[in-house]
């Protein structure tokens, strides 16, 4: 492949002319995408990093470079620390639960052939529904007096609280919505992973003596699902780290900042208080976390990819 300045295209040979015209055609085809890639994605990302080192306010005429000042302010700010802690807590609850339940559901579905398609459809349904609309429905479900949740709890004698208005339960209520919405996603991913385990391995394990359900899971299913599990964990991690919609529509970060999350803080700082420099710094922190999660997956997959 001719790359680099040393292998320049020669126009005095037929092959060179053909390569030249091919390169022209290629840039013609890829040109718009390349331009837009820089304009809409790479450029703004770089701009965010630069902005994070300034104190620019939206609409201000001038700005000042403050270096790491924004970051210092962030980590000294109680609200930001709370926001980060809430986000991490949200992730720490949502991810294991939706991954664990998703794996269980997938294994149950895969264990027999009856009604497989039906269960897959039903479990995936919440994923397709517009989250904002379903968040509004869940708000109604969580209503202290007439909401379904408290009505059902009352039938077993438990008194429910005002889930979304109580600082000690609000974040967990949001976790519940998040898990409900993502469960189908993890289930479907695990179903694909389970289906890709060759039946022969289970047969071989049976003949080798691993006949019971636990042994089959431990010796065949769990190791073979390794890459899928990692993939699902990271995807779910990134997804739940980006929690925003439910907070913005239902709680606005409250009550008492108990549901303040990273992206919401970024939103309010940048577009309510117009502190875009500071908001950019929050964005950078957000980006770093997401990149870290992705990197973990890439490293892990690289190590374990030698199966097939």
């Amino acid at each position: 492949m001719a790359e680099g300045p040393a292998a320049s295209v020669r126009l005095d040979t037929a092959a060179g002319r053909r390569r030249h015209s091919e390169a022209l055609a290629a840039w013609g085809l890829a040109g718009p995408a390349t331009f837009l890639l820089f304009l809409l994605l790479l450029g703004p990302t770089a701009a965010v990093v630069v902005l994070s080192a300034t104190d620019w306010q939206l609409g201000a005429k001038s700005l000042r470079f403050v270096g790491l000042g924004n970051y210092a302010e962030m980590f000294a700010d109680r609200v930001f620390r709370q926001s980060l802690a809430n986000t991490l807590l949200y992730v720490a609850i949502t991810v294991p639960v939706s991954v664990g339940l998703g794996l269980s559901a997938a294994m149950l579905i895969e264990a027999r052939t009856s009604l497989q398609k039906f269960y897959r459809t039903v479990y995936f349904l919440p994923v397709t529904a517009t989250l904002i609309a379903m968040a509004v429905v869940w708000e109604f479900l969580f209503h202290p007096n007439v909401g379904l949740v408290n009505l059902l709890l009352a039938t077993v004698g438990i008194a429910g609280t005002h889930w979304l208005n109580n600082p000690s339960t609000a974040l967990f209520a949001l976790c519940a919505i998040g898990i409900w919405q993502s469960l189908g996603f993890t289930t479907v991913l695990f179903l694909a992973g389970l289906k890709s385990v060759p039946r022969d391995l289970y047969d071989a394990a049976s003949v080798d003596g691993a006949h019971g359900a636990w042994e089959r899971f431990r010796r065949v299913t769990w190791p073979m699902l390794g890459p899928t599990l990692m993939f699902v964990l990271v995807i779910m991690g990134i997804r739940s780290f980006q929690v925003f919609d439910t907070v913005a529509v239902l709680t606005a970060g409250g009550p008492a900042k108990s549901t303040e999350v990273l992206l919401y803080t970024m939103y309010t700082e940048s577009f309510h208080y117009f502190r875009t420099g500071y908001g950019s710094a929050i964005t950078v922190v957000f980006l770093v976390f997401v990149l870290a999660l992705t990197l973990v997956q890439v490293r892990f997959l690289d190590r374990r990819v030698h199966y097939s």
Binding site: M1, A2, E3, E22, A23, A25, A26, W27, L29, A30, P32, A33, L37, L40, L41, L42, G43, P44, T45, A47, V48, L51, L108, A111, S114, L115, Y119, R120, Y123, F124, L125, T128, T130, L131, I132, A133, M134, V136, V137, F140, N145, L151, L152, W180, L183, V188, A192, F231, Q242, D245, A248, V249, L263, F271, T276, S280, F286, L287, V290, L301
Partner: protein, 276 residues
Amino acid sequence: MTRGGLAFAVLRHVLLLAGAAVMLAPFVWMVATSFKPPQEIFAGELSLLPRQWHAVENYHQAFTKVPMLRYLANGLFVTSAIFALQVLVAVPCAYALAKLEFRGRTLLFTLTLFGLLIPAHVPAIPLYIMLWKAGLLNTYAALVVPFVISVFGIFLMRQFFKAIPDELIHAARLDGLSEFAIVWRIMVPAAMPALISFGIFSVVAHWNDYFWPLLVINSRELAPPPLGVAYFRNEEAGHDFGPLMAGAVIITAPLVVAFLFAQRRFIEGMTMTGLK
């Protein structure tokens, strides 16, 4: 291969049905409530069917209090425009990356991969500033333009195009087709399944996007469905649950119906299990 026999088969259904009930409960309750009059809703009873049908009133209010149909139309317009433009931009680029040799190819591909790592929220602030300076805030352009570049689309289509045999392209060139024609006449028809998955992924993602419209739109007429729902909720201020649920039904119905019709494609597109 039956292990555990009848007992396990029954247990399996019991557990899965319990889970299914939890998955479906919000939908069922949403629909049921949209048919009920206020007295029954606030009576706090666990009943599914309304004693008195209030459906017409609830849905009427939902459609008239806020321009619900307009929101749906906006959703349709915006997602279609975004996808159409994404295809126009991404597909030729994917072809070039997959099948053509040129200097800078690896660099471009690396940049695309890098773009995949960047979550959608990161470029938001500068994009907002750009649109603001261009005077495009609060327009359809603001909703569509930032998403015209789809690195995911480029990556996906490139994977697919790579698998198409080179002979097809050589034959086309011999027949006199330009590279541009090859893209649209040969590659796209051959890669239809990938294009459909890409389409579903894009349409669903942008139909359900709340963050970006929240930033750039503040007038009713332009609101896509999620923003519309938020407006509606604020109007109702948590009292008129009947119309509110009716509104939710109207907004979620299109995607749910589409999903039920094409489940496998939907699941493929949304989980992109091909993306490893």
